[in-house]
Symmetry: C2
Subunit: 754 residues, 2 copies
């Protein structure tokens, strides 16, 4: 088949860059000094051998981070970042991830390396066999496995552009086999640029077998490799399968998965699946951890690998394919064992390949890869710019171990800096980020169905749940949410069930409203638009109102909605009760934006100081919002006889807002443990009356010491069907309530049963 | 107590007109000639003795229409109108309601009057006793019972304005007792104006006891009255109860409810409840059917009765209360038996009372009742303007029976004119009107929680269901509706479940979309905004598109939404499948607005003719919309080489729109029975995959003869969580599918069990 011609076909070109990616990354847990952790795998991460995102590899300290399959490089890194965040913040705060492929200093006695304490006996036994065959030390080497699949549309377009193969699956197998053989032949190219295991730490080698620094210990015979007898043919899928089967039969491999080739053909869970399914994707296994990248690999590397694989599909291969592969092994061994600062002996070939790749990009109308090519040429000219070169040079100043420890610390710090965020998804709503964090920790698969819309698909085995905005789920029925969306209907139903709600009337015209003036004139009351939120168009009259003020308020409210409510104003403190499945899980007090004087600083200075809290930010992407210093705040100060440069007395509280919304800089204070049970029961019963399972219900309580059964002890203001959760998880003061985890356990009760 | 002073109290005034109303109205079923119907009570009306809206009174032909309690006169008439519509359209189309209190001609033999065939044996036995006591003929007299309750706020304000009574319930009892005694004393006033049973038909009286026409046979001793021995004291609640108990004990009444006083004190289901609950409301029973009003009573009458009762509360009563009441009986007898065209001998008193009522309105700052007072004075001056007078005069021209038959026919015609509407609620969405019709028929209590929002509370015994917009219910879960709201998410989920959906991409920017031009350029495709509806911003390219046209379409779509979808265009016909609880209940084909030529008329004339169909109207308040003749239609015609005044050939179909929406004049054609089961299964399974119970799902099918399992046989376009129902109930062509009834039976499965 002439892939050169096929790839340049106009009907193929559109799909050239369609692909699917996945990364598995191993990293050891170490303490803050860079010593291998002595602790167990974190208990907060569900300890399932089949955790989709976080597993243990050979040893108890060796974490394996697994991304889902993604269709863009961007999504791949989002997932990788998020899983890192979960891993970091699930570990002991005094532990970090080792950034190198070569492990930190190992215990003197090999048997002190703790094999992963897995659930499944088979899994433990397999590791014991590995331990006996290769020794524990070699198993401690870590790396990246890069899973790559050409887009289905691309493979189909290529299939249509040829006539040699009639069977689609067979065609696909041939395509991947070509890429695989070429990859094995040319993989020295990857080793040169991205090899990153130049030196080992003490106790890694029992003897002095490797004294000189190299480009990649891991990529060489000194690394993670089968014995020389293990050879497999890539000439056809049949040979590949039978060679592997024969190796297992002959006892050279304990299982097929013990085959450590630099590339694996994947068709399913088992090698034998290849027979039925053909090759679905390939797994590149020879990628060292990139110490300079927080997640062990850069997007440039992924971009490079993708383009490289396309190039290998395009590039002619040698005639004798097994030999062609074998030659590649020897080339790679040479490059892997070159000194990290030495120019490679394949420099001419490398240059030629870069030229060809550049030409390919041009011929196929691919997007511009200029920075990549500049970088490759720089690294080729100057070996100290390769990963191995950089790491080696850095290490010369102190030691490789010290460099690695410093890098770890930096990564550790970043992961804890904004503990409420989930890296990779910081554009999403905070509650959704926290929920996703918990889902990953619990081993629940997440698919983002619509990112802008905060729409998730969660999956645990065969159990699927859809979640929008963190807590809009299948557990609530539709009409109940519509009830909550309509203030009048909510009030009617609560009233019919015997709860106290503000008395009031709904009006459709200003005239109607005026006719009812006398019903409210002498009482405390509120005028508000029926459906809008956030306090817009609301007027409060705490001691009744003159008719002209009433009229003004009505007119204002009608600007926001075509229906206006005039309601009894209830005195007391407003509390937000978060109710889930008939239980109050959190009660929050919200206090308007304020500062506390110290007798020295001006109000402006106090605000600036208070805003320094990393919990404060903008646009609901932090648990609290910064306090503004705009016209509204100025007016509010003026009303109290203050200005921005006034200096409040020590311990004096100055309010900058009338409303208590968190969105305008208010403080959130958890009072769950302070609210008496009878009020909690009111909240639970009221939510049940609305037929709701997940609800934020707002109660006005004049005095929590007074029993809820007393006349007018409380009033229910409103019920919310998508209540904010983050403000309970990260309150300004008081205990954190991990509501997102409750939501997950409510959706997946099987988590608690196992 | 000085009610005159109390009522004028400023704190009372605001609430003076707060009240609650209810009407029970009896009417006989007659055939189109005005003869008593020989058929049974309609089977389509649930045959429960405790039907909340529609029952039978004494005989099988005597329907009793019962409104719910309402807080405005407007709502009262809305309910009354709706119940009438249901009654009319549940009866045989050749039956109507007799508009008079006096029954139509009765059978010669009294025993031929069929006693109501009720479920409950007790209920039947009670009627047999009445039959023995009073004869069947008297029981055939019909009338209106008007239930009236002073607003709770008013009673409370009055209570606070006095100091004589410390107990609220006792105070309330005294208040109602005063009104009751005064009503009994002055009820001749009501009889004069609104008495409306001047003459009887043949066979009503066995002898010639009453030869002369009167104002109200029903209101006199010849009407529906107990024997003279039945006397009850209204001096206190205790006396009232004990008198009634004694009458039953002495066998003068078979049960308390046999007491036919012109006013009844109501405290609950039984008279004895009065002891515990006090008086909750009063029931005025002396109101004759107003023959000139479609619903048997006018809103002016209700307004009058309300004001009259307020006046009676205000007006001093006589000292000896039992005597005061007895005097009233004799005054009423006089007025009832006066000739309908004679001036009343109480004219002076009547005039004085109108003066007093007018003064009261002024003193209490009540709204203007000018028209009522003018009318009362007119009737007082000219007896031929009273109801009895009018009916008598009309009857003189032919006969009372003929007049009544003509009135019946007019009412009958009106009730069938727009059979899809529910009178009283024609401002609501059509599907909601039809659903309410069915609910009333099934004996489900309806409360409108929010009229503008189409929000209903339905209740059957203790079972409550809330419904918004006809089919948004508790049966669907929240997140499933959110899935359907998001086209991308819907498609993803359907695709993951193996259904064919149009392939496509979502874009957030014009640039993104342009980059993907080549993916679509040569195929049929659609460009559309992600969330808007009704075809706005959509461009269809049936054979691919040039890049500049693609760009135009993209730009157009981005004007409507910040996300744009570009999707494969599927060829075929679009069908709407209505799925309820895993069953396809209806399939509809929608055809763009069109006319069929006759070789004579112009397109404009054909449109005007087609629009004459009473099923066509505006704003979704009719099953079909009128075809417009606006710019869009003109453009569409131009594209086909036509103008408005072109004359299409005979049987030629000319389309006036591209889109098939019913809202733009399209035709709806029921094809439920034509669609093969395998396609119905696709619809059911797809809806199940979305986790939905009530759904309108749109399938494109190229050829229904081709099995659904064939490649590309169908495609799913979208799923709707609030699918229109009326278009299936009243299709342009094909069988009607009463989906609203299915919804009710789905919400209340117990309806089918009993």
């Amino acid at each position: 088949m002439d892939f050169k011609k096929m790839l340049a076909n106009d009907r193929v070109k559109s799909y050239l860059l369609k692909a699917r990616y996945g990364i598995e990354k191993e990293s050891h847990r170490v303490d803050l000094s860079g010593n291998l952790a002595k602790t167990d795998h974190p208990k907060s991460i569900t300890l399932k051998d089949d955790h989709p995102y976080i597993q243990r590899d050979f040893s108890e300290t060796q974490m394996e981070l697994i991304t889902p399959v993604t269709e863009t490089v961007e999504d791949l890194f989002h997932s990788l970042a998020a899983i890192h965040d979960v891993v970091y913040r699930s570990m002991d705060e005094n532990e970090m991830l080792w950034p190198l492929s070569m492990p930190p200093q190992l215990p003197e006695k090999e048997e002190e390396i703790v094999i992963a304490k897995l659930e499944n006996v088979e899994n433990v036994r397999y590791r014991q066999i590995l331990s006996q065959t290769y020794g524990n030390r070699k198993q401690m080497v870590s790396g990246i496995h890069f899973n790559f699949e050409f887009g289905e549309e691309l493979v189909q377009a290529l299939f249509r552009a040829q006539s040699e193969f009639k069977d689609y699956q067979q065609f696909k197998v041939e395509m991947y086999l070509k890429v695989t053989r070429n990859y094995l032949h040319y993989r020295w190219f990857v080793t040169y640029f991205y090899g990153a295991s130049p030196q080992s730490e003490k106790n890694f080698f029992e003897d002095d077998s490797l004294n000189e620094p190299v480009r990649s210990i891991r990529g060489s015979k000194y690394g993670y490799a089968n014995s020389d007898d293990v050879q497999v043919s890539y000439s056809s899928i049949r040979n590949y399968i039978s060679d592997l089967a024969s190796l297992v039969q002959r006892g050279l491999l304990s299982e097929e998965k013990e085959f450590y080739g630099p590339i694996r053909l994947r068709g399913g869970h088992h090698v034998s699946d290849l027979k039925d399914h053909g090759i679905q994707y390939i797994e590149l296994r020879n990628i060292d951890l990139n110490p300079f990248e927080r997640y062990g690999i850069s997007d440039e590397q992924v971009e490079f690998l993708h383009l490289f694989l396309l190039y290998l599909l395009w590039k002619d291969e040698g005639d004798h394919c097994d030999e062609w592969v074998k030659l590649g092994d020897s080339y790679n061994e040479i490059v892997a064992l070159e000194h990290p600062l030495a120019r490679t002996q394949f420099e001419v070939d490398a240059n030629k390949m870069i030229d060809e790749m550049e030409k390919l990009v041009e011929t196929l109308d691919l997007p511009v890869y200029d920075r990549l090519f500049v970088h490759l040429r720089e690294m080729l000219m100057d070996p100290s710019k390769t990963l191995a070169g950089r790491l080696y040079k850095e290490s010369e100043k102190s030691s490789q171990s010290q460099v690695a420890t410093l890098i770890s610390k930096e990564n550790h710090k970043k992961s804890w800096e904004k503990p409420y965020q989930l890296a990779g998804f910081t554009d999403m709503e905070l509650s959704t980020q926290i929920l996703m964090f918990d889902a990953i920790q619990q081993g629940i698969q997440i698919e983002i169905l619509d990112r802008q819309d905060q729409f998730l698909k969660l999956k645990l085995k065969d159990h699927v749940e859809y979640v929008k905005n963190g807590n809009m789920t299948s557990k609530d029925n539709y009409v109940s949410t519509l009830i909550m969306e309509n203030k009048t209907v909510t009030k009617k139903i609560l009233h019919q069930h015997g709860f106290r709600v503000p008395k009031g009337e709904e009006f459709q015209t200003v005239e109607q409203a005026i006719r009812s003036y006398h019903l409210f004139s002498s009482k405390p009351f509120v005028v508000k638009p029926k459906t809008t939120n956030y306090g817009i168009g609301i007027s409060i009259f705490k001691d009744g109102a003159k008719e002209e003020d009433y009229l003004k308020a009505i007119t204002l409210a009608f600007k926001e909605d075509h229906s206006v409510l005039v309601e009894e104003f209830m005195k007391g403190t407003e509390y937000r009760f978060f109710v889930l499945n008939d239980q109050v899980l959190a009660v929050l007090l919200r206090i308007p934006a304020n500062v506390k004087g110290d007798g020295k600083q001006t109000i402006e200075e106090l605000v600036i100081n208070k805003n320094r809290d990393p919990l404060r930010g903008r646009d609901h992407r932090t648990p609290l919002e910064t306090i503004q210093l705009s016209e509204l705040e100025n007016l509010m100060l003026k009303g109290q006889g203050y200005q921005m440069d006034s200096i409040p007395e020590k311990d004096e509280i100055v309010y900058l807002r009338e409303n208590s919304n968190i969105s305008t800089g208010g403080d959130s204070i958890d009072v769950t443990d302070l609210i008496p049970d009878d009020y909690k029961k009111i909240a639970v019963d009221a939510v049940a009356a609305l037929g709701v399972k997940i609800c934020g219900i707002d109660l006005i309580i004049e005095d929590t010491e007074v029993p809820a059964a007393h006349k007018n002890a409380y009033g229910i203001i409103e019920a919310n069907f998508n209540p904010s959760m983050y403000m309970h998880v990260y309150p300004y003061k008081g205990k954190s309530r991990r509501l997102t985890m409750h939501i997950i356990q409510y959706l997946f009760p099987e988590l608690l049963q196992s």
